[in-house]
């Protein structure tokens, strides 16, 4: 349903009231938080859930027979059900808690990868992968004598699908691809790419670190085999994320780490491992943060992921238009806000992103500056780094205006280089 910008603004006002941190003052200015692709802020419900757990039912899970352990276990396991619904998994046993996206990818590389990647195999990646979806595959490829092969981007940072259909072939064993780029904002056609990969018998892992927080994601519809994301980018706490995988693949994989919780029975010489998902969750898990992550999902579900997406498309379109009028600015990635997430990477001629970040901070504006853990992509773009503003549910057009005004100011502080 089409929303007017007034609807969106009034809802955003209500949302902002749930985030105490947004009232912070930085260098005498009201905080404008535009670093959501790095990590999002947390609503009261999430913070309260942490406090409630520690104050009222802190206990270890899966082992106690006392009341608090039962309560903690029920809350902790209950979140798996919430996640299953949120990403449309088939079964809760496919939902594995991790430390975050990075750990999920390493888990797949070191368990599935070590068994399935053979000498001469090809692992296909996009050129926009975050280091966390690149370095584990570099290490695996070196170890297994396999090869990394890269897809190609067009001039708007979108995957060249014709090139992809030639590059994904009988040698491809794995396609590892981000669903949404944390630099370009590009939303990749994961579904089509997964179909190409599956036609050649390859397995597909998608990095949902930037997509899950910002748009409805349905793992069955995407047709991938593994899907990973982090809760800290979607209103939840740091240190917790999800690896979702197809049951039959997960069952065939060896455990990742060994110890308590992941065993069914232990003898002196050997052990039998626990069933899914606990086979992959050795040791006392991050109980409090998982429980709070459940509240983060509920918060997003109450808003509705379609609303979240609409809000960000509107904000992104507005920002691209507004920033686009600044002299000497280059904005990377797709030009159409409908093809991208709310991540805007840019450079202003003559202004180093690091300097920009510092000067914007003086106006209370938090952006990211640097290579965003995507050094190969920076090289492709021919830059050392970019400045990046990224939006979430609580950001407003007024904040975009503050950003645009501060960018003009930054140019003055640095001697009007962009205007020369």
């Amino acid at each position: 349903m089409a929303q007017t910008s007034k609807d969106i603004d009034s809802k955003t006002g209500e949302i902002r009231a749930d985030f105490a941190i947004l009232d912070r003052v930085i260098h005498g200015k009201k905080l404008v938080y535009l670093d959501n692709a790095a990590t999002s802020q947390k609503p009261k419900a999430v913070v309260d859930a942490l406090v409630d757990y520690y104050n009222n039912y802190n206990a270890n899970v899966h082992r106690g027979i006392h009341t608090m352990s039962e309560e903690a276990t029920a809350a902790y396991e209950g979140v798996r059900e919430t996640i299953k619904g949120f990403i449309n998994a088939v079964d809760t046993c496919e939902v594995i808690y991790t430390r975050g996206t990075t750990e999920g990818i390493n888990l797949v590389a070191q368990t599935w990868g070590r068994i399935n990647i053979l000498p001469g195999d090809e692992i296909v990646l996009s050129p926009m992968e975050h280091h966390s979806n690149l370095v584990p595959w570099q290490v695996l490829a070196a170890e297994r004598d396999a090869r990394l092969v890269f897809l190609k981007l067009d001039d708007q940072g979108r995957i060249d699908m014709e090139h992809a259909s030639a590059t994904i072939n009988a040698k491809t064993k794995l396609l590892a691809i981000s669903h949404m780029s944390n630099v370009l904002g590009t939303i990749n056609p994961v579904k089509e790419l997964a179909q190409m990969a599956h036609a050649h018998g390859a397995v597909v892992i998608a990095d949902g670190a930037q997509s899950v927080p910002h748009m409805a994601c349905d793992v069955q519809d995407l047709g991938v085999d593994f899907f990973v994301f982090s809760f800290h980018k979607m209103l939840g706490p740091t240190g917790v994320g999800v690896l979702w995988g197809k049951k039959q693949l997960l069952e065939a994989m060896p455990p990742y780490q060994y110890g308590g919780d992941m065993i069914a029975s232990v003898q002196r010489e050997k052990s039998r491992y626990n069933q899914l998902p606990w086979k992959f969750e050795a040791g006392t898990p991050n109980v409090a943060d998982v429980i709070a992550a459940g509240k983060a999902i509920e918060y997003l579900q109450t808003l509705g992921m379609d609303w979240v997406r609409d809000h960000e498309v509107e904000l992104t379109a507005y920002a691209m238009q507004k920033l686009g009028t600044l002299k000497g600015i280059e904005i990377y990635g797709p030009r159409d806000a409908k093809e991208r997430g709310g991540v805007i990477s840019f450079n202003i001629k003559g202004l180093h992103p690091h300097d920009l970040g510092q000067i914007l901070n003086e106006s209370g504006i938090a952006i990211r500056a640097g290579h965003h853990c995507c050094q190969p992509l920076m090289k492709d773009l021919g830059v050392m780094g970019t400045a990046r503003a990224s939006f979430y549910i609580y950001n407003t057009k007024a904040e975009v205006d503050v950003l645009a005004a501060a960018l003009c100011e930054a140019d003055k502080v640095l001697g009007n280089v962009a205007l020369r």
Binding site: H27, H352, P353, H354, D355, Q358, I359, E362, A369, G370, H371, Q375, M378, M384, G385, V413, L414, G415, V417
Partner: protein, 149 residues
């Protein structure tokens, strides 16, 4: 005076926009690359050190932020023509000025141009930007001295 004015005072901006000793040396005694992993900034430093241990020439090719560029530019002026020993002392003094949390380390009169960078100390993330050229120079001097032997 706002924080930004402080950080981006005239001298820094002058060196940023017109970096001194910018370029390469064909037959350098040492050529060293420095990287700031935080932001990916890179610089290449070229050194010519004479038989008797004098820095005859120093050139920098840098792509970095204002602090990084200005710091490298000022450094090149400070060590040009100095003995390796004296250059090492200057590096030490500069690093002390940036890193000493207890007190303000004074600069000798002949180094007073570097005073402009003192303000960077207040911005912990930017100290790395300011130090990159100096740490690279330290590596370069070690390489140049090893090459001579």
């Amino acid at each position: 005076m706002s924080l930004s004015d402080d950080l981006y005072r005239e001298t820094i901006l002058d060196h940023y926009h017109n970096p001194r000793n910018n370029g390469t040396i064909d037959d350098a005694t040492a050529k060293i690359e420095g990287v700031n992993p935080l932001c990916g900034d890179e610089l290449t430093l070229y050194l010519n050190v004479s038989e008797d241990g004098k820095i005859q020439d120093v050139k920098l090719q840098a792509h970095g932020c204002s602090i990084n560029m200005a710091s490298g530019s000022m450094m090149s002026e400070a060590v040009m023509g100095q003995s390796v020993e004296r250059a090492k002392e200057i590096i030490e003094t500069f690093k002390e000025m940036m890193l000493n949390k207890e007190q303000d380390v004074p600069l000798e009169d002949d180094l007073e141009d570097l005073e402009a960078l003192r303000g960077v100390k207040k911005y912990p993330v930017r100290i790395k930007c300011a130090l990159l050229p100096w740490n690279t120079l330290l590596d370069g001097l070690a390489e140049a001295c090893a090459a001579k032997k």
